[in-house]
């Protein structure tokens, strides 16, 4: 049986570092060297001060669920019915969308504390999932 793969990730020169970071086991957030602020999703310049002098900081991986959904239809494999996806607010202040794992239905709620679980899904795709602390 062939492995059912997740949707592929479009990557460009502004976002490459994020995906490379995950493959090295790091959840990275784009950081502006000029104004010291963070942004996600990353871009070619800082949305706050328009500087092109950007690098990245490693997130603690801790955050809370700011919002969530449970997906039912349509649900292409490998996703399963009731698939939970969260909008995570990281300790550092930025948000990102991520699959929720190892979580009980009652924990799928705004405010639940979560931590990152960096997960290789297949040879090309490594993702940042989150589970309850």
């Amino acid at each position: 049986m062939t492995e059912v793969l997740r949707p592929r990730i479009g990557v460009n020169k502004d976002t490459q570092f994020f995906w490379d970071g995950l493959k090295q086991g790091k959840l990275l957030i784009q950081h502006c060297k000029s104004c010291d602020r963070l942004q996600h999703p990353p871009g070619p310049c800082c949305k706050h001060c328009q500087s092109f002098e950007l690098d990245a900081v490693e997130s603690s991986g801790r955050g809370v669920i700011d919002s969530y959904v449970r997906m039912h239809h349509p649900l292409p494999p490998p996703f399963k019915k009731g698939h939970p996806i969260g909008l995570i607010k990281l300790e550092e202040g930025t948000r990102l969308v991520a699959e929720l794992i190892n979580i009980q239905p009652a924990q799928i709620a705004v405010g639940t504390a979560v931590k990152v679980v960096i997960t290789p899904c297949d040879k090309d795709v490594t993702l940042a999932f989150f589970e309850p602390v």
Partner: protein, 393 residues
């Protein structure tokens, strides 16, 4: 703000549409031409006079081909506004600007699609190619995690809104029940004579929690077109002129397309407030001067948010507005009297513009008394647009 204004300088003088179905049996171009010719006949304007065309993205019918097929002679302005349904009112703004400035004499706006029988928005973006373009890279933040469809993108914002203000699935259901009650009286609606109850809504299956099937608009085949001329000319034509008193677009507050999850308050549709401020300033009126509204209803939660952003109730209180039935035909602001996209058809919002025109003319199936001003909004979650249509200029 500039003293120069677009308000009252242009009018919608013709509307046309095909039937709304799940299987039109003809090409999208056929639907486009049919609706445009119907709108011109409604206006009493010869197709050879059309010198401007505007539509919006996700329509597959090129402007030049529509113009060629209707027998147009000279096309002097053609535009296509981005962000799909969010642009539903924007081509009317383009048309008004074109006739107000003398660039064009007669502009046609259309949206034609076989969005049920030939392709479906609801199936999502799982199969989109992953490349380095902005859009494909942007899907990379969502698709690999399974957030793949318009319903899921809206659901993520809806959870935040409902959690913040205590709105419930039943409140979303009240929007749906209201739309279906309107559609039940509209012979052109797909759900003509098919009202639903709140219980039906609550029993409908989950699509993406917190959205149920009956929180999601239809997928439809069909087309709608409008004809716009300058106000002076409108007075000489056969239909009662429907003046464009306000026309605006909006994008702001860390705007993303369907995923504005990074703004300070994820429960907001700040871009709607930006459109509202422009519309009311242009028209010189406020929300209390609107007798009926067409509120874009691809998904029910954003109807609640829009009621707040457009000033019909305080922030967080749209749930109370719909619990009180204020959005029904008997309420203080009848909403989506054609049945909306939940009840009539999903023609990407242009069918809502046509209903706004009918309300000002006095031709709606659910006619509101003494209509002076109608608000029409466009797709939300994306950069958006809106109109205020008026009986007087």
């Amino acid at each position: 703000m500039s003293k120069r204004t677009l308000s009252g300088q242009a009018a919608i003088v013709g509307i046309g549409s095909t039937e709304f179905s799940k299987q039109s049996g003809r090409s999208e171009m056929h639907l486009a031409v049919e609706s445009v010719l119907a709108a011109l006949a409604d206006a009493g304007i010869d197709p050879t006079e059309v010198d401007g065309i505007s539509t919006y993205t996700m329509d597959n019918n090129p402007e030049m081909e529509v113009h060629r097929l209707i027998g147009g002679k000279s096309l002097k302005m053609f535009s296509r506004i981005h962000y799909g349904g969010g642009a539903a009112c924007a081509p009317l703004m383009q048309a008004a600007m074109a006739v107000a400035t003398g660039v064009c004499e007669c502009v046609v706006v259309y949206r034609a699609m076989n969005e049920r029988s030939e392709y479906r928005f609801g199936t999502g973006v799982a199969d989109r190619p992953a490349n380095a373009s902005y859009e494909a890279s942007n899907f990379g933040w969502y698709s690999p995690h399974g957030l793949l469809t318009p319903a899921s993108w809206v659901a993520m914002a809806a959870t935040a809104y409902m959690n913040k203000y205590g709105a419930t699935s039943e409140d979303l259901g009240r929007i749906s029940v209201g739309a279906r009650a309107m559609a039940a009286n509209n012979p052109n609606a797909w759900f003509y004579q098919k009202p639903i109850t709140l219980e039906d809504h609550q029993n409908s299956r989950w699509i993406c929690e917190p959205l149920r099937l009956l929180d999601c608009c239809q997928e439809s085949d069909g087309a709608v077109a409008c004809v716009i001329v300058a106000a002076e000319r409108a007075n000489e034509l056969q239909q009662k002129p429907v003046y464009i008193r306000g026309a605006a677009q909006g994008a702001c507050d860390d705007q993303q397309a369907m995923n504005s999850y990074y703004r300070d308050d994820v429960a907001r549709l700040s871009e709607c407030e930006l459109v509202a401020q422009q519309l009311y300033a242009q028209a010189g009126i406020g929300p209390k001067d609107i007798q009926t509204a067409v509120i874009y209803d691809h998904f029910t939660p954003y109807v609640l948010t829009q009621l707040e952003e457009y000033g019909f109730c305080p922030r967080g209180e749209a749930k109370d507005f719909v619990r009180g039935g204020e959005h029904l035909l008997s309420g203080s602001l009848p909403v989506n009297t054609h049945g909306g996209q939940l009840g009539e058809a999903y023609i990407h919002g242009l069918n809502g513009v046509a209903e706004g025109v009918r309300q000002v003319r006095g031709q709606s199936c659910n006619q509101v008394d003494n209509v002076e001003h109608v608000l029409v909004t466009a797709g939300t979650g994306v950069p958006t647009s809106g109109l205020i249509l008026g009986a007087q200029n």
